[in-house]
Symmetry: C2
Subunit: 370 residues, 2 copies
């Protein structure tokens, strides 16, 4: 195989596919990036078996072929080169040379691509279309409440639920639920799939936050395929029925407070300074007319702080794991937010008026914990 590409295009392509190279694996072929130019274009491929990425880069093919390279070495070598044409040549014995200007790398680790797993085929007839910005945003706004609990794989994924032109994205971890609802440009048949959180995380690192550019998503029984620019990402789906979340949601409330998001977030963040990691001290929220008082007690000291609010309904005192509130508040862009509560043992709902987001957080029992 012999190809010539610009350093910058090659570097960009390698950065994309390297997201699917596992950091720890016992199968050395998974640590490789495959360059396949048997089909007339230059394809870079990596596959960690849960998801794989393929991208096509421009360049000249002087001799067709397919070769697997140690991902780490290839990525670092190419990154180090000056911005000029790079020639990669691998002979029949898998001796590879990489040449750029007066720089010669020789005998670079490479091997046959025979053992390499290509991306699974997915039927590409009916794409769901989202803007890159929308996909990136919705992942950022929900991904923090997945769980890496090995005993419950489903919590490690996000529900993508389509009904007409509505996309609902849900994640939960047993203590909280994050829900975002997006209006899409087109309507589709109803469908529910669970996409692994890891795949979504890596995809949102690769795609730009561009609102005018789209991602096409194709689904079949076991896989989802994301297509954007010259890149294809294929992931396994998580099997099974997702949690029945609708029965956990409720519009009833006894107390509603409207509060400045930034003030509330700074205050809770400050309170956490007194807690060491792993220490489960709750922040206690005391809602009264026109004012909310937040306090925390720990061995390192105590804090209390008041914030002006608009209140509706009953007074209420309730405790929360401060981290769960912080995670939700960080991804809400509204200046003022509404929090709905029932009593000290029922979950709170942070929700906007048109239900574009709902964050449910379970309270903690602060009489025993404090």
């Amino acid at each position: 195989m012999k190809i010539v590409c610009s350093k910058s295009e090659l570097n960009a392509g390698l950065n994309i596919v390297s997201k699917a190279v596992p950091s720890k694996t016992t199968m050395s072929i998974l640590e490789c990036i495959l360059i396949d130019c048997t089909g007339g274009n230059i394809k870079l491929i990596a596959n960690d078996m849960e998801f794989g990425i393929e991208t096509v880069i421009p360049g000249t093919i002087l001799e067709k072929g397919v070769v697997a390279y140690d991902a780490n070495i290839l990525v670092n070598l190419i990154k180090s080169l000056p911005d000029n044409d790079v020639t990669i040549e691998t002979d029949a014995d898998f001796n590879t040379s990489i040449i750029c200007e007066k720089i010669n790398f020789n005998k670079i680790l490479s091997r046959s691509g025979d053992e390499f797993s290509y991306l699974p085929k997915v039927d590409m007839s009916n794409p769901v279309v989202l803007s890159k910005l929308t996909l990136k945003d919705v992942v950022r706004q929900t991904i923090f409440s997945i769980s890496d609990n090995e005993a419950n794989k489903m919590m490690g994924g996000e529900l993508f639920e389509i009904n007409g032109d509505n996309l609902r994205v849900v994640s939960l971890d047993g203590h909280r639920i994050s829900i975002r609802i997006i209006k899409m440009k087109n309507a589709y048949n109803s469908m529910k799939v669970i996409i692994p959180g890891k795949t979504l995380n890596e995809i949102s690192k690769i795609i730009s936050g561009d609102d005018s550019d789209d991602v096409e998503i194709y689904f079949d029984k076991n896989h989802a395929l994301f297509k954007f620019d010259d890149t294809t990402v294929v992931t396994r789906l998580i099997e099974g029925d997702y949690f029945k979340i609708d029965q956990m949601l409720s519009n009833e409330y006894e107390t509603k407070m409207i509060v400045n998001k930034k003030e509330l977030l700074s205050c809770i963040s400050r309170a956490t300074l007194l807690i060491k990691e792993g220490d489960k001290k709750p922040v206690i929220i005391n809602i009264k007319d026109g004012i909310v008082n937040l306090s925390i007690n720990s061995v390192a000291g105590s804090m209390n702080e008041s914030i002006d609010i608009t209140k509706e309904g009953k007074d209420l005192m309730i405790g929360f794991n401060p981290k769960f509130l912080i995670d939700a508040l960080r991804v809400i862009d509204d200046e003022n937010i509404s929090i709905y509560l029932v009593n000290a043992k029922a979950p709170c709902f942070i929700r906007d008026d048109d239900n574009s987001y709902t964050y449910l957080v379970l309270p903690v029992n602060f009489t025993s914990a404090g």
Copy 2:
């Protein structure tokens, strides 16, 4: 004790003194920052027993006193506050409250300052004066070749040697020597001291790179005191006579090459991509008329690259630990550098014409290592 300071001044002062709070210690008093306002000003002090820092911040003393606070908690709490006046109050039972706007921290960890070690007294009659920029630069340009070898404490320090208006700063680790010579504004009595590298590292983090502002340095038998702005740093000196480096230096050479520093640095950096950490593969430098060829061989592959040079004297092939060359090249600001060599077993010298810097690097035997 009760004081009122602006958050920003308090925060800046805490950031300075916290550099002398050890990250690991079995003596809990060392994890504290002392606030001492018995003398009519507000002093913040930290002391890790090898070196200590004291800084004075503006503010109002409402009640005199001296209290030790857990450094980590105090620094983080103050950092989290809005930019406004902060009141710190500690009662006779060491109950501390910190108040800023509507924020109340209470019962913050604090204790008596009785066990706290103040900074040692140093005679402050004859300062050596350097600009902040000069001190910061000379530390950066030499500190990388100290050694943390516990068996030889002297290698963990830097020699500061004064002769008239000349300051020579030296560090060495058994494989290389870094020397910088600085012309000072004033002349002083001859003197040699060994300052711990850790202290120099922390001082250069605190001082700004300001050329118009000075640092005064005072020495006595066992300590050095650095004074700048409202801050004082006192460090122990390392006892003993420093290595006799003059007998290791030589102006004789058989080969001299003049090379573009940036090209040489990029080339050697690229070569190191093929070596795993701990792998002692040398970069082999082959100097000929008008050209130097650099090559490296490892299990991951090999590299070779040529750079145009100006050569004087004999051809030479010599091997080096690439890291040692990289460290020296990084801190040299000249566009072109001169490297002087004798043979494949003698050290090379990277040196400018007026001897303001000399970097000696020992070669490695590449026939056996390669």
